[in-house]
């Protein structure tokens, strides 16, 4: 599915933001969430996005996740101008190229872990047999083999987030967008989750964009982008700490 995209011309970055602004409201009540962001992210990167509340990092994340569109400026995803896509085209882009992990897990209640993980495959039109098989493998990959029939209510927070990660990677997306994935978890659980994300980044080449407050978690990334007042304040490339190293 994503094979041709990965072999794309190296000159075209996976993600490119050019002078992106986002304004909510208008006139005197206008709120400038982003004031001109330039950002380039290549395939296979693991980027942590940090910054205080109201710095625009969540807005930027929504735009990167194609859930929102810039007020001005350009967002190119694999060279495609997302700003020109309509709502349904953006939905298709999310369906085929993106995976989401949220702070609050956002699993369907009273629905088994397996069915939750199958959900994106359902929208891709996969047959029941293919859905079961791939969802089972994805759950096994996040260490939840044998938990397929449990509903979110029967799982711990860490397990729920693993189910959410399985749901995000079951389609083998280009990019996994994680919005404070460890915000609701204790430290030990948080490091487990980061270990999983690192693993998917390294072993499957999935590009990971992660918003986080916690410097500990940002340590796992190869690159840390800091937002202040709707602008990129710093962009630091570094050698990440490994999950193995911590454990």
């Amino acid at each position: 599915m994503s094979a041709p995209a990965r072999s794309a011309d190296a000159a075209v970055p996976l993600i490119e933001l050019r002078g992106v602004t986002k304004v909510y409201g208008s006139g005197t009540a206008a709120m400038h969430a982003l004031r001109g962001v330039d950002l380039r992210i290549d395939a296979g990167e693991f980027v942590a996005i940090m910054g205080p509340s109201g710095s625009g990092k969540s807005t930027c994340m929504n735009i990167l996740g194609c859930l929102d569109t810039p007020t001005s400026g350009t967002y190119l995803f694999q060279g495609v101008d997302v700003g020109r896509l309509d709502r349904n085209q953006r939905a298709l882009l999310r369906r085929h190229y993106l995976g989401f992990v949220f702070q609050g897990f956002n699993l369907l209640n009273r629905t088994s872990a397996l069915e939750n993980v199958e959900l994106p495959l359902l929208y891709r039109g996969e047959s029941a047999a293919v859905r079961h098989e791939r969802a089972r493998r994805a759950l096994a990959a996040v260490g939840l083999a044998g938990w397929e029939d449990h509903t979110p209510g029967e799982l711990s927070g860490g397990q729920q987030q693993r189910v959410a990660i399985a749901r995000a990677v079951v389609t083998e997306p280009e990019v996994l967008l994680a919005d404070e994935p460890t915000g609701n978890l204790d430290t030990a659980r948080s490091h487990e989750i980061m270990g999983l994300l690192t693993q998917f980044n390294r072993e499957r080449g999935i590009t990971i964009l992660m918003v986080t407050h916690e410097p500990d978690m940002a340590e796992y990334a190869q690159r840390i982008v800091r937002f202040v007042d709707g602008r990129v304040a710093s962009d630091e490339r570094r050698t990440p700490q490994t999950a193995r190293g911590r454990a």
Partner: protein, 403 residues
Amino acid sequence: MPLMLWNALLLALRSIRRNAMRSFLTTLGVIIGVAAVIIMVTLGSGATAQVTQQISSLGSNLLMIVPGQPGPGRSLNVAPFRLQDVQALEREIGSLQAVAPVASSTLTAVYGNRSWSTLVAGSTNEYFIVGNWTLASGRTFTESELRAGAAVCVIGATVRRELYGTQDPLGTRVRLRNFACEVIGLLQPKGQAGFGRDQDDTIVTPLRTFQRRIAGNQDIRSIQVSVRDAALIDKAQREIEQLLRERRRVAPNEQNDFSIIDTRQIAQALSGTTQVLTLLLSAVAAVSLVVGGIGIMNIMLVSVTERTREIGIRLAIGALEREVLLQFLVEAVVLSSFGGIVGIALALASSAVLAQMLQVPFVLNLSIIALAFLFSAAVGVVFGYFPALKAARLDPIEALRHE
């Protein structure tokens, strides 16, 4: 696309199962609406069929001629018919199969220690032809009995039951006012007529017997004729009118002083009334279907609000607007069609019972059942569309933030 529909159906069934109680209460409105419409139409067609059947049991192609015009008090001093009128009809109008002069009166009949008030009619053997009567046992009148006005009679099934029980009435004598007449025949029962009169509650004597021994005059209160062919009824009616106007010396500018009643018209009028009533009641029932639809809309709106976060997740994952729309629309349609199916089952069961209780034939109207089902599904589409659209148009970011 079929896969998409199948998925939507799967999701809808899952969601309905999760809220089984609420789903049932929601569909109750549609269940009641569909059941009410079908019950009304079924009983209504039953009643119409019954009326038609009863009217035709009076006699086929039957015209009744009575002196005077319909309306209060107007027939009191109008001259009755004479035997000569009957003979003229027989002689001059070729399209008539049978002409029966009738004089009748309500009398008490006595046999042994039992008595029974019944309609005694004096007529000829033509009376049995005109009224489609057949004999269960015994015989009709002989020529000499008719001419002589013999004390003989043919009795109906109700009179037999009331006076004789299970005893054989043939050959016995039943007393009418001041004379006793021999029972020579027993009529085959016909059952209840329209307008609630029991046709079997009757005794028939020769016309002359009635005129001499009961009425004491030569009056004929009505003439019943049967027309050879249904197509000739209108023509026969015009000819009878013309003939009787002449015989009764009605001036050209005057109204008829008699009426010709076509039983088909009574049948049409009566079944027309039943149909209007059925239509009215069905319309009331249809309103409850619409109310049921509003119930579904209400619960779908609640469901959309309640599941805002779920919708947000679906949209974020890449569900298209039309997929979310379809999911909720299918859910509404499944709910309402389920209500339709249960309503149909309920209606069939209760109209079978009600038809039995009201003694109306159970007429199964398949097209109204199909229509009620389609209508219930349509209710789901119409009232499910707005909530489904509301769900599909949600902003995924807002929806995900929803608590």
